[in-house]
């Protein structure tokens, strides 16, 4: 291709014509539907399920665990069962292990082999979670990695890294920020970010978040 070739291609046409892989996706889906391996509505319904899963769900679970010690105990004993009791359906066969941060332990989750993630409670992972630098470094030098996210863990606090698998997924239960005694469950949930449930940051008061910016 010459360096001027793209000058003659209208931009509108470029965006209108689907690429090779999108055509492959459409072709595979249509062939499998024609062979009646699944119904045409199943993909659409699963897209709706995927759209219904966001970190706000996980944040509600965390806030409930902060205000209800009995729920917290059930959540730590069996993450999936407690989430299901809370009304979150698991659309796959995965187990969920909830990892509690304390004054002595900070938890971090990763999937070194691919991109396993607690999708039923957090939705889809961010791109950086799926890329090499995070997957390679999280298990080797998590303290330095966390510092890159602005999270400085004191040397006397243990960092535990949990490597997800196809069947076992993890969720971090962050520590409840100090000074939130008067907060409602809803106000607490607003403090819990996706990144806090991955373990790369802490759950923080809004003031603390603004001070960092």
């Amino acid at each position: 291709m010459t360096e001027h070739a793209h000058d003659h291609t209208p931009a509108a046409e470029l965006s209108a014509v689907p690429g090779y892989y999108e055509i492959m996706e459409t072709a595979v889906r249509e062939l499998l539907t024609e062979k009646r391996l699944f119904g045409p509505g199943e993909i659409r319904r699963q897209i709706e399920v995927l759209d219904s899963r966001t970190p706000a769900l996980g944040a509600k679970v965390v806030a409930r665990a902060w205000v209800d010690p009995a729920f917290r105990a059930r959540l730590l004993a069996n993450g999936r069962r407690a989430c299901e009791e809370f009304g979150i359906t698991f659309y796959d066969d995965t187990d969920l292990i909830v990892l509690e941060n304390t004054d002595k332990v900070h938890n971090l989750i990763v999937c070194t082999l691919c991109s396993c993630y607690p999708r039923p409670v957090l939705g889809l992972p961010p791109d950086w979670y799926k890329l090499k630098p995070y997957r390679a470094r999280a298990v080797k030098d998590p303290r330095t990695l966390l510092a890159e996210f602005g999270t400085v863990i004191p040397d006397d606090v243990e960092i535990r890294v949990s490597d997800s698998t196809a069947m076992v997924r993890y969720l971090v239960l962050p520590q409840r920020p100090a000074g939130t005694d008067a907060f409602t469950e809803e106000q607490l949930a607003a403090l819990v970010t996706r990144d806090a449930m991955i373990g790369v940051v802490k759950a923080e008061m809004p003031e603390a978040k603004e001070a960092l910016q």
Binding site: Y21, D127, K140
Partner: protein
Amino acid sequence: MTQTEHLIKQLPTELGGLDAGPIARVEHVLEPWEKRCHALADVLDFHKIINTEEKRRGVEALGAEAVGSLSYYERWIVAFANILFQKAILTPDELARKMDEVSARYQSEIIACER
């Protein structure tokens, strides 16, 4: 240590513990076809056609160059196609013909829009 031992102790697909650069905090909202591809993965799993482990191994089987060059969902759809061939659910010819048909359909839709 032999000259090849390190290749076996950590396979090329095992990234955990390797040296790597800083975390670029990239994120993007999925394209519609990427979301369809994700939903397809889930539906294939529900129907026990392709599970998560098979999908991962299918991506690894693409080889380092393709894994490094294709985007996340590009790797997935190619892996699905290969696994479906291996399971004799689809044939390469069948997929090629269908892709031509889909491509022609998109082209005619674009022509229809321009009129």
